[in-house]
């Protein structure tokens, strides 16, 4: 009896977060869903009703292109981030405690600065008369400034820069738990360092890798600030489109419809991904 009572008390703790989620997540989501099938009023208002015209509009070539571009950007960003983050995590996991602490600080310190300020800093560095171009020009390596800005390159740079910590930290936390005696055992049993990496280290890092991929892919998909700052109008992503529908075009129903489609895609992506990755059955990956 006593134990049951305790569990009930414990459950009370769930009320604040449940209430929070209900108010600021579930309810807005439902509102967005309702808006997406509502009619647009002339001066930006929303008139309740039922129509699928906004969803039809998304299917038009222009919007579809932006949609596909968003998926492309998110996918490639995730891949680049992964390729850069993995070696860093690997190095940190096997570094001395001192080195690890210093590197950890270097990763975390940028968070103390506002995201916007960091983006402005990136702009200053990469702009036409920015630090990089000036340095290359004064040293005479190039004559004309490189186009580092307002193109896909700068968008990727911004995304990768922004996402790296979210990939490094989960992979690091997986690799950190890797008992080095497992690696020694593998070497001892005749595997070279490369074989050991692919058979032991990499599979061991998969839980962190999966988390990192989700942490990077999902927010990148919906991000609108980086394309706005770094990409110019040619690199608009779905996030920009949604923002402009809400803020500039004042077409809330259409913005809502696009949000719903994006949420739907992201959900499909995550569920497929989690389904593909099954922690208890990742043996297939181990026996390459």
């Amino acid at each position: 009896m006593r134990k049951l009572f305790k569990i009930k008390e414990f459950h009370l703790l769930l009320f604040p977060p449940a209430f929070w989620l209900l108010l600021f997540f579930i309810v807005p989501l439902i509102i967005v869903l309702i808006y997406s099938v509502s009619f647009r009023e002339l001066y930006g208002g929303v008139k309740t009703g039922f129509t699928l015209e906004h969803y039809k509009e998304i299917g038009s070539e222009m919007y579809l292109k932006i949609f596909l571009r968003s998926i492309g950007y998110a996918t490639i960003t995730t891949l680049i981030t992964l390729l850069i983050a993995f070696p860093v995590s690997y190095f940190m996991a096997f570094a001395s405690n001192r080195t690890k602490t210093i590197l950890m600080l270097l990763i975390i310190i940028p968070f103390w600065t506002s995201f916007l300020i960091r983006m402005y800093a990136l702009m200053t560095i990469m702009g036409e008369s920015g630090l990089v171009n000036q340095l290359l020009m004064t040293t005479g390596i190039i004559k004309e400034p490189l186009a580092l800005f307002n193109n896909a390159f700068s968008v990727y740079t911004g995304f990768v820069y922004w996402n790296l910590p979210f990939m490094i930290l989960p992979i690091l936390s997986s690799l950190d738990r890797l008992d080095t005696s497992l690696l020694e055992a593998s070497l001892d049993l005749g595997a070279t360092k490369t074989e050991t990496f692919f058979r032991i280290t990499l599979p061991y890092s998969i839980p962190g890798l999966v988390a990192g991929v989700i942490f990077v892919f999902v927010p990148t998909m919906g991000n609108f600030i980086i394309p706005e700052f770094m990409g110019g109008t040619d690199n608009y992503m779905i996030g920009n489109l949604i923002t402009s529908q809400y803020v500039h075009a004042r077409n809330w129903p259409f913005g809502s419809a696009m949000s719903v489609v994006m949420i739907f895609f992201v959900m499909i992506f995550i569920s497929l991904y989690l389904r593909f990755y099954n922690p208890s059955k990742n043996k297939g990956l181990l026996t390459i």
């Binding site: 008992d179 005696s181 497992l182 020694e184 055992a185 593998s186 070497l187 001892d188 049993l189 005749g190 595997a191 070279t192 074989e195 058979r199 032991i200 599979p203 061991y204 990742n282 043996k283 181990l286 026996t287």
Partner: protein, 359 residues
């Protein structure tokens, strides 16, 4: 045959292993015994190839393997925590080295089955390491290391993580297994009972050097350094000076205790400071005056612990020294001798018992 030549390991300014030379014979069950931090595990890790050698050489059957990577050595290891791959089942763990070598599936299956049988793991092939008891995990680690039939099997405290009962049982199985497979075992432990029970030869280590390397009986009966005398088993250690020595008898004046005689003598020089060591079970608590071939000290019984098979006494000598004596209870019963706390007794022992060690 494994040969260590002047093996040295230095971390910064600290010498962990100092100039160790050893020859371990083929098929031998060799034990490195010592307290933690004595360098025994470092030696093992250098043989396996996990630690770089600072100086010296390691020769396996005459071939220098000092600079070889772990995967290039015909040596396998059973790790202290077993280091089983948590994502592999028992079968894959054991088959790992054969899969690395890309052997045919039938050959792998055949050899795994053989070694699974040998390790008594039949029926556990599909279990994951997390589903096994400590003893079973230890067998998997053993099977995984043995499947290659290495020339040397290194075992790093393989019994220390097990319950006492299971450790004792596993100890016996390990000895039997070693006889069956005939592979040279190099066993690292801090547990002297394991070492005495298992090893053909023991190297007792302290502070990075080998204090004594010999058969268990020699190590126990004739320790050659103060450290070995103290570390192995229970020992009474008394300081003294040699007052007389001839081929027949040695007289030693023990500090705060008095004169004793030892009938074995290898012509020690007079005046030399020595340490006299004697095992508690070699001494006898008695009310009877000593015979002429016996040494004797007088004291008072200060503690008495009955342990079923034996009784442990602590006797305080008149000089204040405490001497441990272990008596077989069945002998006490036969002679109807029972001593009480505070009783004034003799401690008698034969002049042939005890060892002299250079101080």
């Amino acid at each position: 045959m494994l040969e260590l030549k002047n093996l040295t390991k230095t971390y910064g300014h600290q010498n962990v292993v100092r100039d160790v030379s050893l020859v371990i014979g083929k098929g031998e069950f060799f034990c490195l015994l010592g307290p933690s931090g004595c360098g025994k595990t470092t030696i093992l890790r250098m043989i396996a190839g996990f630690e770089k050698v600072s100086a010296g050489n390691i020769l396996l059957d005459g071939v220098d393997i000092t600079e070889r990577a772990p995967y290039q050595r015909d040596v396998n290891t059973v790790f202290q925590n077993y280091a089983l791959f948590p994502n592999f089942d028992v079968y894959d763990n054991i088959a790992y080295s054969l899969m690395i070598k890309k052997r045919a599936a039938e050959e792998i299956a055949e050899r795994v089955e053989k070694v699974v049988k040998l390790a008594g793991l039949t029926g556990f092939e599909k279990r994951m390491p997390g589903q096994l008891s400590g003893g079973q995990q230890q067998r998997v680690a053993l099977a995984r290391a043995l499947i290659n039939e290495p020339r040397i099997l290194l075992l790093d405290e393989p019994l220390s993580a097990l319950d006492k009962k299971i450790a004792e049982q596993t100890r016996m199985e390990l000895a039997e297994l070693q006889r069956k497979v005939g592979i040279t075992f190099v066993f690292v432990t801090h547990n002297q009972v394991e070492a005495l029970a298992l090893a053909d030869r023991i190297a007792v280590m302290n502070n990075g050097i080998i204090e004594q390397c010999d058969q268990p009986r020699e190590i126990y009966e004739h320790p050659r350094s103060h450290f070995v005398a103290d570390f192995i088993g229970s020992m009474n250690v008394l300081k003294g000076i040699i007052t007389e020595s001839n081929p027949l008898i040695t007289h030693v004046e023990l500090e705060d205790v008095g004169m004793i005689r030892l009938s074995k003598s290898d012509n020690q020089e007079t005046g030399k400071p020595v340490i006299f060591c004697i095992r508690p079970e070699r001494m006898k608590v008695s009310l009877i005056e000593p015979k002429e071939y016996e040494n004797s000290l007088k004291g008072v019984i200060r503690s008495k612990v009955y342990l079923g098979d034996v009784t442990h006494y602590q006797v305080e000598l008149h000089g204040g020294k405490l001497i441990k004596v272990i008596a077989q209870n069945y002998l006490l019963q036969l002679s109807n001798e029972f001593y009480e706390l505070g009783e004034e007794v003799f401690i008698n022992w034969s002049q042939t018992s005890g060892e002299l060690i250079n101080a």
